[in-house]
Amino acid sequence: MSLAIEQILNGLQFGVMIFLLAAGLTLVFGIMGVINLAHGSLYMLGAFVAASAAGRGAPFVLAVLAGAGAAALAGVVMELVVIRRLYRREHLDQVLATFALILIANDGVAIAWGKTPVRMDVPGALTGAVTFAGLTYPTYRLLLIAAGLAVAAGLYVLISRTRLGMLIRAGATHRETVAALGVDIAKLNTIVFALGALLAGVAGALLAPILAVQVGMGEQILILTFVAIVVGGLGSIRGAFIGALLVGLVDTLGRAYIPVLLKPVAAPALADSLGGGLSAIAIYVLMAIVLVWKPRGLFPVGSR
């Protein structure tokens, strides 16, 4: 029983981290209509900068802020130099241009930090595990869940209660109206993009202590993120949240239970490797099922 709860917590933790990336990606798509494949590169940058800062003795919180700030700054530059020119272009052009950005970012990071994975430790106070209700769970993972949920709540408040949020919501469905209100759309776009980049940076920095911080780490998680926002319905923060949790849970629980469930019905060696194969494709099956059932995701937004 406690194992099941642990696995659900694991799925939740993975899900909220995916959400941090998914939120930015879905906002940028919802408001600017841009598919940004280079979102994972901002996440990578956040991780590298945080690791560097921590390596130079910065306290953990400062290191995370440095990573997030660097990603946001890179986001602003990216928006001003490249993304801005893609708003009115076809999705395909956006895909190609942001794919090119991935190549540049990966090689750039390799030049700046080298190809060897970089180290970042879990802060000393958080290395242990917490025991509650007969369950032992790593403190740092609990922190990740808390941080992810806090950011989600913060985003909810930002979107639903503030003027910026109002503009973001309006911008997703009624671009012209927002422009007519006298709002500087270009500035709004830059702000939204920087916000998305910031969240990606936060995710990178928070995960840096438990992941290999290395070139190419952005693409590993990028596909999962896209699956999450597509399952949730593009452009919807709520959809991204549900989608990310679904992906996190399906992926984790698939890895936890598919091999176990197969054991009684298949030869052990086959069960292990077949189970591994099936759990690797579980999220893709999830996405295919959702899209066959609801071609615009679980929470479709407006008409686009």
Binding site: L3, E6, Q7, N10, G11, Q13, F14, N106, D107, A110, G114, K115, T116, P117, V118, R119, D121, V122, T127, G128, A129, T136, P138, Y140, R141, L207, P209, I210, L211, A212, V213, Q214, V215, G216, M217, Q220, I221, I223, D251, T252, L253, G254, R255, A256, P259, V260, P268, A269, D272, S273, G275, G276, G277, S279, A280
Partner: protein
Amino acid sequence: MLTFARASVAALLVLSLAGSAAFAADPPPLKIGMITTLSTAGGYLGEDMRDGFQLAIDEEHGKLGGVPVQVIVEDDGLKPANGKQIASKFLLQDKIQLFTGIIYSNVALQVVPDVVEAGAFYVSPNSGPSQLAGKGCNKNFFVVSWQNDTPHEATGQYAQYLGIKKMVVVAPNYTTGKDAINGFKRTYHGQIVEEIYTALDQTDYSAELARIRAANADGIYYFLPGGLGISFLKQFTQAGLKKTMKVVLPEFSLENHVIGAVGNDAEDLYGTAHWLEDLPFAANKKFVTEYIGKYHREPTPYASQGYDTAKLIASALRAVNGDLSKADAFRAALRKADFQSTRGAFKFGPNQYPIQDWYSMKVVRDPKTQKLQLRGVGKIMRDTGDVYSGACKMT
């Protein structure tokens, strides 16, 4: 008409661009084609290997075995198709007769047959696939590192030696991973309570770690190359599992890059390797000092393999005075393995894969510097070849 002209100009341009690297330099130096992985997440392995190889050339000021050489390095991007393309360029355009460099077996399996069929030589610094060790062996194919199964056999042996009763084994769900686990099982005879296969692009291992905890084993072996292993080890330690389980690893998951990336999490890990930084051989001491002096980073097995590969090639080039058209003599010289390996005794088996010693090692904290270091503990296997060589009928 203009459009056609432009189109064909473009086409010509592409062709000449693709080929122009070849027009750059003419011999005297003997060209060695190095196809390796420099980009992608696995790029640092190729970088180490290349730098180790280069170190041997620098020792001789641009020569190997007294023969001036020029190494042409190209990145395969971890794509077998790219490796193949580079190989045909090297073969057909640059007329290269001596190849090395490939890190990953899936690339090697595509490239090596092309190279040896063309009558050229391939000396592998890092990949010894089983397909090319038995029936598929070839007289022009040499492996300096190990047969792919052997590091895992050594690790199994060590786990056995450490008296671990119940093990969990983990590997990615692909052929190399399954081969690794089979290799481990060949020498480990305790109980394997859980066999876990992970995805190739996995970053989060929490689900697996919960399964591992539930399995109540007292030891774990995993083969997760590069970043996969780093992520896994960090999360494994985080989950507090290191307190209850002994971790026994093949050298891929326990080398200086890994230790650098995981920090204290590496403490008290066990492992096996065919080469160690602190092996007491003169050739090794020289290599380690020079490598750190030149590249300002700790050497890895990949670096030592690059260096040894270059030294082996040097010994054979000296024997034929750089004339590769004396293929039989060159081959015979390679077979002799008349060079000082950084890992001590080294000779080739009948399939031209190495026969060598395997060491056990442990991560310990240096009492003076407080730095974590890999220290040799002892020999775990002596003069060990591989199980496939019997099937090799060299022609």
